[in-house]
Amino acid sequence: MPEIKEIVKDLADKHGRNRESLLPILQGIVIEERFISDVAMTEVARELDMSAALVYGTATFYSFLDTKPRGKFVIRICRTITCDMKGKRQLIKLLEDLLKIKVGETTKDKKFTLLETNCLGWCHKGPAMLINEQVFTELNEDKVSEIIGDYMRNN
């Protein structure tokens, strides 16, 4: 795995070193590492020659720019009303049982993090969830068990 220093440098080479590059760089770190550590934020600040407070302020504003350690797979289940009406609560319970963690937590092996998120834009096909960037819709208990099983086996 490349050092965070290298990751930040590569991202800055790609996106530039001004204020406008900050969001794409932070997004890039999340894709690589799943979260932005304090070390990563300091490194970005150094590379872009801005204060670490600016980087921190920007990173913590956005819900997808996680600043807490996350698993390799971040599961975000939609909590908005239509997904809720279609049975999202049972699915969260099932996910908590399958992964043996609560919403907001990460499994011990650092593989999965379970989170809730606001409207994913799949209200006609709810309940919906994201695993990293991938979308899963029209979920039910069987489907969720199958998807999580696949992720557990193949990764």
Binding site: L23, T58, Y62, S63, L65, I81, T82, C123
Partner: protein, 386 residues
């Protein structure tokens, strides 16, 4: 079964015409196109409904060297999913609309700000962009479109917050005025339009103003893409004429037991059954960015309201006190009334708080919390208590 409402097929029809329309439009004079867009009566499809032609005209009148056209694809309103569908099915029309706008206002660069939840769309969009850039190069028009990603913040759908985010900052709304037509992205004159608005502008150039004006009503010209979800047997995306009555809508899309329709998402209005007949969906009645959520009599409107208030509490950017504290207190307040810790009259106090937010919050998010709050509490008071 006969349907009451006519289905329209403008947005998703014939994607391949992009080049033809651009060829004709790029030859036309700016004044002619602007006149068409103004005459068509097209109003913004993101929810606020500002006349599109005026936005373009104001920006065109500015004398800046640098101008931008931005496509707002930060679709985050609960119950809205039409922009995702438009971008995945007819991206070239969206880009085409941006190019026509760029010609009129004199922009060399355009940006699509895509919400982080739609990251999976990015690769497809970039593929379509290659084709688009080849087309306009062939036509000798100097214009580049870039895709920027959001990172899960509803507030960035607010135009000035979106510019802040594009500039690498926290997505906190700016004071207005100045409006984007004068000082938008990088403080330069900017047209920012919703995905769907850009496609309609493009289609007006394709089919002509008159055809477009045959649809809809005097105040709400044309058609609109609706995102229909909740208690309906046929949830999905439908293009319908503006100006329909909610009664006809429910007849077509309801499950026979519709108790209420939330028009315009969490920031919109809740209309109860007894008002279906007198409610018009359009700028003269209840406007919507496309979100239509149906609830049948098995649903608790308290749960619906609580879901919305929790949503706003989390998505409030925290910059201004009325919104930051207001959303928290509305949530705590309805919970307390439900538990019996506060009397029924406390709902009136909460209503006053919501009304205060409407006049004092800095941006549309805080101002619109009162819409759903008051319309649900007013119409379903007993459900808030028992």
């Amino acid at each position: 079964m006969d349907k009451k409402l006519k289905r329209v097929d403008l947005i998703f029809s014939e994607e391949c015409v992009c080049k033809d329309v651009l060829t004709t439009s790029l030859k036309k004079s700016n004044d002619d196109i602007l006149k068409d867009i103004l005459d068509s009566g097209l109003r913004g499809r993101g929810g606020a409904g500002f006349p599109t032609g005026l936005k373009w005209k104001f920006t065109a009148q500015e004398t800046s060297e640098e101008k931008y056209v931005v496509c707002n694809a930060d679709e985050g309103e609960p119950g809205t999913f039409k922009d995702r569908e438009i971008l995945s099915r007819v991206p070239l029309k969206v880009f085409g609309g941006m190019a026509i706008c760029a010609k009129i206002i004199g922009a060399k660069h355009g940006y699509v700000y895509l919400r982080g939840e739609y990251q999976f769309l990015k690769a497809e969009l970039e593929k379509a962009l290659v084709e688009f850039h080849a087309t306009i190069k062939e036509l000798g028009f100097d214009f580049q479109i870039h895709i920027l990603m959001g990172s899960g913040a509803y507030i960035c759908g607010e135009e000035s917050a979106l510019f802040e985010s594009m500039e690498g900052k926290r997505g906190e709304p700016r004071n207005k005025p100045p409006y984007p037509t004068i000082a938008g992205f990088r403080n330069k004159p900017t047209v920012i339009n919703n995905v769907e608005t850009l496609v309609y502008a493009f289609m007006i150039c394709r089919i002509g103003t008159e055809k477009f004006m045959e649809l809809g009503t005097t105040d709400s010209r044309g058609s609109k893409v609706f995102s229909i979800s909740g208690d309906t047997p046929i949830a999905g995306i439908y293009e319908l004429e503006l100006g329909m009555s909610l009664e006809d809508f429910v007849e077509d899309f309801g499950d026979g037991d519709t108790k209420a329709v939330q028009v315009g998402g969490a920031s919109g209005f809740c209309v109860p059954r007894k008002k279906f007949k007198d409610t018009i969906i359009g700028f003269e009645g209840v406007p919507t960015g496309g979100s239509m959520m149906l609830f049948n009599s098995s649903r608790s409107m308290y749960n619906v309201l609580k879901n919305y208030v929790e949503f706003f509490e989390e998505e409030s950017c925290g910059q201004c006190t009325p919104c930051r504290v207001g959303c928290q207190q509305l949530k705590i307040g309805i919970e307390a009334v439900k538990k019996g810790e506060k009397s029924v009259h406390y709902l009136d106090t909460l209503q006053k708080l919501a009304d205060t937010m409407k006049v004092t919050a800095k941006c549309g998010l805080g101002q619109s919390v009162a819409n759903s709050f008051s319309s649900i509490v007013d119409n379903f008071k007993e459900e808030m208590i028992y």
